[in-house]
Structures are given as C-alpha cells and as structure tokens.
C-alpha cells in the first residue's frame, strides 16, 4: 500500500494473550493468582544469580522444563530439549499458547512476529554456556529472533525491538502501526527476559534493587524487584480471528524521549506527559474518559515520582491506577506485554486489581493507587512505560 493511501479506518484488535512469570504460565493463571493476592517475589537466598540474598521473581524451572518437554514431544518429537535455551523455551511456550487460542496463522505472509527484549539469551553473553547443541551466535538478538521465527515456520523474519524498559509497550505500538499502515494483517507481539547474574548484578550496581519485595508508589518504596517473564499478545485487523469475544482495539499510542540523562528520568515528567497526551489525542479521548491506568510503577524513588507527576499533569490523578510489578517484579523486555495483557484481562473481566506493595501515598503529586481489588467497567485503559535512555511510552486500549 502506498504512502499516500488512506488507512485511517483500520482498527487493530487485541486478542488472545499469554503471560509467564513466577505466578504461572498463562494469563488466566495470573488473574487467578492476583485475585488471591499471591506475590511471586521472594527472597533469593544467594547463589548463581547473586552472591548475596535479594528479592527476585523467578519462573519455576521444573515446571518450565516439564511443560516444554511435553510441548516438544507433541509437536516436534525429533528435537532434543537441550537444543533450546531457557529464553527460547519461554518464548516458544508463550507464542504457542496464543496460537492455540486464536485463529492466527503464523505461516501466513501477512503475519509478522515482533519480539521485545533487553537481552534475549542473556545466559549466552560471555560464552559461559557449553551445550554443543546451542549455537553461541544465538546471543545476537536477530539470531535469537530468527531461531524463534523459524521454529514456528513464520514466513517473515521477526522484527526485534530493544529499547530498554519500554520495549514491550513500544512493540505493541509498532505492531499496531504496521497493521494500520497496511503492511501486515496480524502481528504476534512477544517478548521477555530471563534473569542471570548479568542483570541482577547490574541493577545492584545501580543500587536500584529493594531489599524487600518492591512497593510501587508507596511512601516507603526503596527500589525495584527484578522478575523473569515472557508475554505474548495478538494484534489483528480481523476481530473474528483474535480469539477473544470482546472488541478491544489499540486506539492510540506514543513514544517520546527526555533528551536529558542516559540513566535517570527528567524529573518534571514533561516528556512522559507528552507521550500520554499524544496517546490520548490519537485515541480521541479526554483524560476523564480513562477508566483505569496500568502504570509502569517500578518502585524506585525517582521513576515513580516522575510517573505520578506525568499522570497528574495529564489530568489523570483521579483515575484508578495500579502497578503489577508488586506481584512479579519488573520483567524488563516482557513488562509492557505482560502488563498490557493483564490490563486487557481487566477490561474483559470488569475487575481491576490492587497495586501490591502500596500502603501509603508517597509521591509529591497524589494519584489514585488501588488499595483493593474492585469491580469496574473499563472501556478505556491507559498503559504507560518509561526506561533508561530517557524513553517514555503510552498506549490506549479501547472497547468498541
């Protein structure tokens, strides 16, 4: 389709999703666990991932291997388990789950896979893994993407996005934009990160890890908790193929940069606010139309403060808001996908969840953080994200 063509009428529907964290291996399991106030972050006693104890949210390794072995046996019995890295197992299970619950054909040339990650095969960095079946060049994110794409016989090479902690939300926006531009009909947005000492030590060096499970937006917050995770979400211009009965669309989105500092936010929240304002404008919505916000809310002092300022600046201070990171930590490249999938589950199920870890308001601009689960009709939901490199992103999901 040409550059001048009119594509304004195309709706991009969100469909089936999968989420994998310490809380489980499907979106439904996550909803059930969150409803029961289960927290997946626990104190890692010290070992390969960190020399000292630190709270982490880790995917259950035995369950991962069991599920993957079973999946492989059913689908590709000629392949050995040790041919796959931990990250690849997570992504394959996650993508396979949404393919099962939607009518999207991954082999269709009109279908694209977009992958969002910080480090992909984080455990291959430094060449420490010595499994002959695993080619070390899968440490390259494009190669990791190509491997995943060819596993599913995808006709297009996956696009890999690596834009710090906004990668997941940005991948959803990129998918939606490419569909609206007429380039593809369906996009499978998947992404995630495993945890190794690489990430844990790095965040420790920044002193950004809390000694206790994180407390986003709380007065006593003192850092984030890292979480392993993977998520997948379907985007399509055809609602009937999406795998969910509700009609929910990506109505708007935007990404901005602070142009201020490489590892800290612009504390006025201005660029973050601009991303939110633009996302609302594209969705043709006023701040009062937003029913619920799934915030980035990492639990670090400055980032939560900045986000509260940006939300308040945008006139969203009264909107019920939560951060899912109190349940399963900051899942890095997966965060935007997992949290969007859960926000969309809230829209579908008419229930919004308390922000785990939050007790007392602790930002200079007070925003409406959920302290209890609530029943609520959510027609319009805002998802926000921000990250290192001064990047901010916002997406609006809308029931039609």
């Amino acid at each position: 389709m040409g550059r001048n063509g009119s594509q304004l009428m195309v709706d991009v529907f969100v469909g089936a999703s999968n989420t994998i964290t310490s809380l489980g291996f499907s979106t439904a399991e996550h909803v059930k666990q969150i409803k029961a106030n289960q927290i997946g972050i626990s104190i890692y006693p010290g070992g390969n991932l960190s020399p000292t104890p630190v709270p982490l949210s880790l995917v259950d390794n035995r369950q991962l291997l069991d599920l993957f072995r079973e999946y492989l046996y059913k689908t590709k019995p000629d392949l050995q388990l040790d041919f796959f890295t931990r990250s690849e197992m997570l992504h394959i299970l996650s993508i396979a789950d949404v393919l099962k619950s939607s009518e999207i054909n991954v082999k269709d040339p009109r279908t694209l896979i977009i992958l969002s990650t910080l480090k992909g095969n984080m455990d291959l960095i430094g060449g420490d893994i010595c499994v002959p079946a695993i080619e070390l060049d899968r440490v390259y994110l494009w190669k990791w993407g190509e491997f995943l794409g060819s596993f599913f016989n995808s006709s297009n090479k996956p696009i890999v996005v690596s834009n710090a902690c906004i990668s997941g939300v940005l991948a959803i926006l990129i998918g939606s934009r490419l569909i609206k531009a007429g380039r593809y009909d369906h996009v499978i947005v998947a992404g995630g990160d495993i945890l190794t000492e690489f990430a844990v030590s790095g965040f420790q060096s920044f002193q950004s890890l809390s000694p206790k499970p994180c407390k986003p937006f709380d007065a006593a917050r003192d850092g984030l908790s890292l979480g392993e995770g993977c998520g997948t979400i379907i985007l399509s211009r055809h609602h009937s193929l999406c795998g969910i009965p509700e009609k929910i669309v990506v109505a708007g989105g935007s990404c901005t940069n602070d142009a201020h500092h490489i590892s800290g936010p612009l504390r006025t929240g201005e660029s973050f606010y601009v991303a939110i304002r633009r996302a609302l404008r594209e969705a043709s919505l006023d701040p009062r139309d937003i029913d619920y916000i799934s915030a980035h809310g990492t639990g670090t002092d400055y980032y939560d403060e900045t986000e509260a300022k940006a939300l308040s600046w945008a006139g969203l201070e009264r909107v019920p808001t939560n951060s899912f990171k109190g349940y399963f930590g900051h899942t890095l490249g997966a965060a935007g996908i997992i949290e969007s999938a859960l926000a969309i589950a809230s829209m579908r199920n008419r229930e919004i969840f308390r922000s785990a870890g939050f007790e007392n308001p602790g930002t200079s601009q007070q925003i409406n953080i959920l302290t209890d689960h609530a029943v609520k009709e959510v027609n319009h939901c805002l998802k926000t994200a921000s990250g290192f490199g001064g990047c901010n992103a916002a997406a609006v999901f809308k029931k039609i």
Partner: protein
C-alpha cells in the same frame, strides 16, 4: 507526500563521507584511536564523550558529522523529531565487558558506568541529549541494514504526523568492527518551505540500499 533523504553520512573503513563525498580519512590504528581522532578532527567539545562506550561514541560522532554547522533538525520542534536506528550486535560490546567484570566472585565489582551501556538505546539517548531530540525513538536489531523496515516504519511516523523530521540509519559497533550510515529524513512541503526542493534523494528501500553501499542514485 513524498519523503526525502536530505543529508546523509557514512563512517566505515576509517573514512568519513558526507552526502556521498569523502571528507576525511584516518590512519588511526584502532577503533578507540579512530574515535578519538575524529573527535579532535571535528573540533567537538563535549566532555561526556570520553565516558561513552564505543557504540555510543560511534552514534554520537555520526550525528555530529551529519549535523555539524547546519540547522537542519533545529527547524523542527524537539517533540517532532524522531530517531530510528538499527544494528546487528545490540550492545554486546559492553555486555561482554560487564559479564567479565562479574565472572570472578573475588573481583565482583560491577560498575554502573559499564552497566548503563548494556542497552542499545543509550546511543539514541546520547544523540537526543546532544541535539535536543524528544520524539519517537526506537532501536531495531537486524542482521543487516534493513532499509525496508526503516521505510515502512518511518513512513508511518510521518504519515500520522508523529514526526516532522527523523534521523535514521545503521549504527553497528562490536570489537574492531564498526560501521555507521546515518541520514536525515524530511517531507516535501517542509523542504520547499525552508529552502526550495533541491536534488534530494527520495526515501525508498532501493535508494537507501544504494547510499548505504556507496552507489550513485
């Protein structure tokens, strides 16, 4: 609405070219020495440069070479300028360095000044900070320069007025291997308004590929 590449630069094999014309060749013996010599050659005064990893240095220098002495992007509001970059090795150059620093438990001193460079979009941030660019920004990882992806995505950004100007290209640096190809994309009506349409290159995958490979259009 046609989009044009209004300015482009390349840095590879120790040679710098601007708009297709080689303007500097260096005899430097290493990548580090090359980046230091270019910093001096272009009379750049930016103390933070020395703290950057090589990927960011390459991105920063490429943007300097592309934009020095022009107001090509300052004509636009900061929020309307985008940066869309691609590379193959992400930030593996510094990823390895960070991993090595934590390998020995007795020498376990991960440095925040190394770890911050273990995500590729820090190169976007360095350009954004220097040139006050606040719009859409993304790093894609692809095996090779992928002009089609840039064409598809940047065209969408312009069509929906998400950007009025965009820096795009390929910034790859891993060990001794480096290559950059960075360009400015503007749209027809703005170019006409500002300076009259000259012989600019129409943005499409074929033209990008030709400029990248140093062929004439």
């Amino acid at each position: 609405m046609e989009l044009f590449i209004t300015r482009y630069m390349k840095l590879q094999d120790h040679r710098v070219s601007l708009n297709g014309i080689v303007e500097h060749a260096s005899e430097a013996e290493s990548v580090d020495a090359l980046f230091r010599s270019l910093y001096r050659y272009y009379h750049i005064d930016y103390p933070k440069f020395s703290k950057m990893d090589n990927l960011c240095k390459l991105a920063f220098l490429s943007a300097e070479i592309l934009l020095q002495g022009t107001d090509v992007i300052q004509k636009y509001p900061a929020e309307q300028i985008g940066i869309i970059l691609e590379n193959a090795s992400s930030s593996l150059d510094y990823d390895q360095k960070h991993q090595e620093s934590i390998r020995d438990r007795n020498q376990y001193f991960p440095s925040p000044s190394v770890f911050v460079y273990t995500i590729p979009n820090i190169m976007v941030a360095e350009i954004a900070i220097r040139h006050k660019v606040k719009g859409e920004n993304t790093v894609f990882i692809s095996e090779q320069f992928d002009p089609e992806l840039i064409d598809h995505y940047v065209s969408e950004l312009f069509r929906n007025q998400r950007v009025s100007c965009c820096l795009a290209g390929w910034i790859e640096c891993y060990g001794d291997h480096y290559q950059s190809f960075l360009f400015v994309i503007e749209q027809e009506d703005n170019i006409k308004r500002f300076e009259g349409l000259q012989e600019y290159v129409i943005l499409n995958p074929l033209n990008m590929e030709k400029l990248y490979k140093g062929k004439s259009i």
